[in-house]
Symmetry: C2
């Protein structure tokens, strides 16, 4: 499964071309999308029924507190409003959200609002998120629709000539951790 972590999001006619580029030209299976510009900026991606569109909800970085965690008039957080909107866009079951593996407390508090959304969780490894905590949380909530992304933790596992082997071993270790928890 190839996920284009392209963080797209633009006015409708431009998003249409981005969707075409990611799904038809590059033939990716999924893409990450910025929600800020709202429904018509996301809609063109949703026309692709056999793809998976991961919309940013609560991201793994510290800046998540600047806007994503702002409290709205009704007492909810902006990222919760995003999750609620994405649920409403998911009639074709091709929507997901991005939720930082570094935000375990928020994950536990919000996991029951994810309805049928697939969840992409970056932040394990270099960013400090715990793979064990993430998998346990999903298991405890009887969910298995998660994709845990580890980038630098694998890519930069070794700077020596053994980087290929080191990366492969790290992937094997991570997979073993997940299998043992399920």
């Amino acid at each position: 499964m190839v996920i284009a972590d392209a963080k797209r999001g633009d006015i409708g006619n431009t998003s249409s071309m981005y969707a075409k580029s990611v799904y038809e030209h590059f033939k990716c299976d999924a893409v990450t999308i910025h929600p800020y510009m709202g429904e018509d900026s996301v809609r063109p991606f949703l026309e692709y029924e056999d793809k998976l569109n991961f919309i940013l909800a609560l991201t793994s970085n510290s800046g998540a507190s600047d806007f994503e965690k702002l409290k709205l008039e009704d007492g909810t957080f902006l990222f919760q409003k995003v999750i609620s909107k994405v649920n409403s866009w998911n009639s074709k079951r091709n929507c997901g959200i991005v939720f930082g593996a570094t935000k375990i407390a928020e994950l536990k508090e919000n996991i029951n609002s994810f309805e049928n959304l697939a969840v992409l969780l970056p932040g394990v490894g270099a960013q400090g998120g715990s793979l064990e905590e993430v998998v346990k949380t999903f298991k405890e909530n009887n969910r298995l629709n998660l994709v845990v992304n580890v980038s630098r933790g694998i890519l930069y596992k070794s700077t020596g000539t053994d980087f290929g082997e080191a990366a492969q071993n790290e992937i094997a270790e991570l997979n073993k951790t997940v299998i043992n928890l399920l």
Copy 2:
């Protein structure tokens, strides 16, 4: 002036590479940026002192009402919070905002909060924004730090073999409109 309307925005180390790509490889003068992920996703762009970073505030599309116009706990709108944050990031005077030319009422209400920000205004032409209204509003507020973007209104002015001439004439007309208003 070349503005990369790339709508970038990612975790810090990725944004650093995007900034390098846009400014060092492609040698653009400015870029558009998604604010959703917060300060550390924008910061790498701000290191380039002689560039101009236009952060999305209130966009020209209908989806702007989904999140950008959500009311926060303190009674302000999300896009107003973004403008306020961008003001606080503007110590090097290399920040701007994107504000839809289709949103004249909001432009009039908020223009005095723009402090030293340059303003990129898309939405004139195909999207229905009025060039006259935009320029008048800036003039009435003694501001000249605006960039009005017209894309499809010029690019698709003619589908015939005269498209070059038609586009050139449209640019001349638009410039004449601006000059007459100033």
